[in-house]
């Protein structure tokens, strides 16, 4: 309401959700392309998908789910006044994020080493659907990786502010919204994983 002094917790959360909707639709555009090209090149997509590193994909799925768990626990912890725990849990979340990105780095290096990257001679020589698959893969996963980076930074800042006490049980909208963002990153991955690694 129009009291400038009172914090509008529900308003902040509503705003965050609205923002998450926009993120969802941002990735939605790529999923739309994926769907239409899958309908056109089912065989090429399946073949290309079999070349992906299932191990990396699965490991990263587990890592992200776990990080999401810790972020959710951090929200519970702050409501129970466990400031210490919050910082540890967020630290764990960010660490998971870092490991995730490191895995991605290894995976991408391996793929680029095999000559698979947008516009590469190998893809140019292959069937058309294959190059579409990998271009979409790099764009989607790259955009997702960027979100991991942003989310990690955000949660680091939040952890620091929890440590300083500016975020506390009475006012933790920042933590809650940071965690929401992180869950969204997880959510998007939950769909990326089957679409690219297990190829539908």
């Amino acid at each position: 309401m129009s009291h400038p002094t009172r914090k509008d917790h529900a308003g902040a959360k509503l705003g965050m959700w609205l923002f998450l909707f926009t993120e969802l639709l941002l990735f939605g555009g790529l999923f739309l392309l994926y769907g239409t090209y899958l309908a056109r090149y089912p065989r090429e997509f399946a073949a290309a998908g079999r070349e992906m590193h299932l191990g990396f994909g699965t490991a990263n799925t587990v890592i992200l789910i776990t990080s999401s768990l810790m972020a959710a626990m951090a929200v519970t912890a702050i409501q129970r006044n466990g400031r210490r725990q919050v910082v540890y849990l967020l630290g764990g979340t960010v660490l998971c994020g870092a490991v995730f990105l490191f895995n991605k780095y290894l995976e991408w290096s391996a793929e680029i080493g095999r000559g698979i990257y947008p516009g590469s001679p190998r893809l140019a020589a292959g069937p058309p659907g294959e190059s579409v698959f990998y271009s979409l893969y790099y764009l989607t996963v790259g955009l997702h990786g960027l979100h991991v980076l942003i989310g990690g930074t955000l949660l680091t800042v939040v952890a620091a502010r929890v440590g300083r006490g500016t975020i506390h049980a009475g006012d933790f909208a920042w933590l809650e919204n940071g965690a929401l963002y992180w869950h969204l990153v997880d959510l998007v991955w939950i769909f990326i994983f089957p679409l690219y690694y297990l190829v539908l």
């Binding site: 509503l14 609205l18 555009g29 947008p118 516009g119």
Partner: protein, 541 residues
């Protein structure tokens, strides 16, 4: 107009009571009124830039062959004209300027829900605009792709497309931020008694618009990223030689850009719905239908993008579906037109500048909308697609619709913030010139399109010459009216007659607070007890 109260302007208003002074007090202010004015002057500045480019286009088309520029310049100019007008003027225009200035006051709030985000979105907007402007003078020169950036052409041209597209991307984020802010504000910050059924229709229209911004703009974002990736990384997603499909680009582009035309028109319709009752001294006819039709347009408007692709080689089934849905969106617009006209019935109508612009809005928007029906019907669109007919259609709805509503809003609301007003007679002359010039300019284009002259044509066959000349002459009349409007309005705002808190006799909340408004808007939180068009309830005879 007669000043309804003669009290001298309050000493403290949002112009001077913030403590800080100087330019930074504006550039870093989180006050919605100051941000609103920042937006107003930026979007209006870009509008003028766009107008100059439009006039240059018309001069080039005055006669066949080369008139004042070469084809490359022409192609760059219509691209930049389109980009500036669409992304820097009309999409951010209403939300940023009048939305910010008026909406929080109309719902009885002190400010928007996230004032700092609000300021940030203006900065994003300016940043994006700066990038777009930079793209004109660096790299391979201004983009020459048309505002639609169709692939594969825009991945092949050597002009500075990537940078311009990146600028548009940033502006898109600004639009998203505003949308998030407004939806939250309207949900959370309404004053006591300001029920959904008492929201002014302008607020309703902003609410519907904000949803379109939230749900459609991200698709534009990803589409623009894909153009850049196509150019810089060679992803080939829309390149047929590598399995891509150019039509998929068009789908993505129009999934955003059709709803975007409703970002442009919905707030304009809201302005009209607020102005007409005040100048007819009658409650708006069919409040609920108008509010609901705003939501209906926003929702159904997201389903029709394919009507831009009837000739593209899209499947016939899709054409069937999209043509049908296109006609469905026309229904809520028709309802609004009928309701506005019936509001006039047995009222007491005064034809001051805001009202003249509003009434001409109805006419011009109707012409634009009815030409839209020609384009929505599959058989007829085949002939007029990508001709001057389409150019005529959208100038009628964008310029004759949203643009004229913008002028109406300027005359109606700016005096509230300046405490002074323009002179009536020159305003009416300016309106008349613009109205006449506008119709000559764009009706000629509609006819040219029917005769078969394609759009984005630097040169044309001699048979199209007479109407092109006529059209160009119309553009000069329009421009003369615009100059008069500007001089009169801004001179009035600086040194015109003073106005009281409620010069027009409006019943919405912005007229209940002092002129110019204080920073806090309301001394104490208002309690709303009457509807927005209940002139008796508000104590206005």
């Amino acid at each position: 107009m007669k000043p309804t109260d003669q009290t001298p302007p309050p000493a403290a208003s949002f112009w001077n009571d913030t403590g800080r002074s100087g330019i930074t007090a504006w550039l870093f202010s989180t006050d919605h009124k100051r941000i609103g004015l920042l937006y107003f002057f930026s979007v209006f500045g870009f509008f003028l830039v766009g107008v100059v480019l439009g006039l240059l286009l018309r001069i080039e088309l005055m006669a066949p062959g080369r008139t004042i520029m070469g084809p490359q310049t022409y192609n760059a100019l219509f691209t930049v004209h389109g980009v500036v007008m669409v992304f820097l003027f009309i999409i951010p225009g209403f939300q940023g300027s009048f939305g910010n200035l008026i909406m929080p006051i109309q719902i009885g709030a002190r400010d928007v829900a996230f004032p700092r985000l609000n300021l940030f979105s203006w900065w994003l907007y300016m940043g994006g605009a700066a990038i777009i402007l930079t793209s004109l003078f660096t790299g391979g020169g201004p983009p020459d792709t048309g505002w639609t950036f169709y692939l594969p052409f825009s991945s092949r041209t050597g002009t500075n497309v990537s940078l311009a597209v990146f600028g548009v991307f940033i502006v898109g984020f600004s639009s998203i931020a505003t949308g998030v802010n407004f939806v939250t504000t309207i949900h959370r910050l309404r004053a006591e008694g300001m029920t959904w059924g008492r929201l002014p229709l302008f607020v309703w229209s902003l609410y519907a618009t904000a949803w379109v911004q939230i749900l459609a703009t991200p698709i534009l974002g990803i589409t623009l990223v894909l153009i850049i990736a196509e150019r810089l990384l060679g992803t080939g997603l829309f390149d047929p030689s590598r399995g891509g499909d150019p039509l998929m680009y068009q789908h993505l582009f129009w999934i955003y850009s059709h709803p975007a035309v409703y970002i442009m028109i919905l707030p304009a319709m809201g302005v009209i719905s607020d102005i007409i009752p005040v100048f007819a001294r009658k409650p708006i006819f069919g409040y609920k239908m108008i509010a609901f039709s705003s939501l209906a347009i926003a929702a159904a408007g997201s389903l029709v993008w394919g009507h831009h692709m009837f000739t593209s080689g899209m499947s016939d089934t899709a054409i069937l579906v999209f043509s049908f849905l296109t006609f469905v969106v026309a229904i809520p617009s028709a309802i609004k037109v009928f309701n506005w006209v019936s509001t006039l019935y047995r009222g007491s109508i005064s034809l001051e500048a805001p009202m003249l612009f509003s009434l001409s809005f109805i006419l011009l928007f109707s012409i634009g909308g009815l030409t839209g029906l020609i384009q929505g019907a599959a058989a007829t669109d085949i002939h007029v697609h990508d001709t001057q007919f389409v150019v005529g259609h959208f100038h009628y709805v964008i310029f004759g619709g949203s643009g004229f509503a913008f002028f109406a809003a300027m005359h109606y609301w700016l005096p509230k913030f300046y405490g002074r007003r323009y002179a009536e007679k020159p305003a009416i002359i300016a309106w008349a010139l613009m109205f006449v010039g506008f119709n000559i300019l764009y009706f000629s284009m509609i006819v040219l399109g029917l005769e078969g002259m394609p759009r984005r044509y630097y040169d044309y066959l001699p048979e199209f010459a007479p109407l092109n000349l006529l059209s160009t002459i119309g553009s000069w009349i329009l421009a003369a009216g615009l100059v008069l409007l500007l001089v009169n309005l801004f001179r009035g705002l600086r040194s015109g007659e003073r106005v009281g808190s409620n010069p027009w006799g409006g019943a919405t909340l912005e007229w209940s607070i002092p002129t110019p408004p204080p920073t806090e808007n309301f001394e104490e939180e208002p309690v709303v007890s009457h509807g927005p068009y209940d002139f008796r309830g508000a104590g206005i005879p």
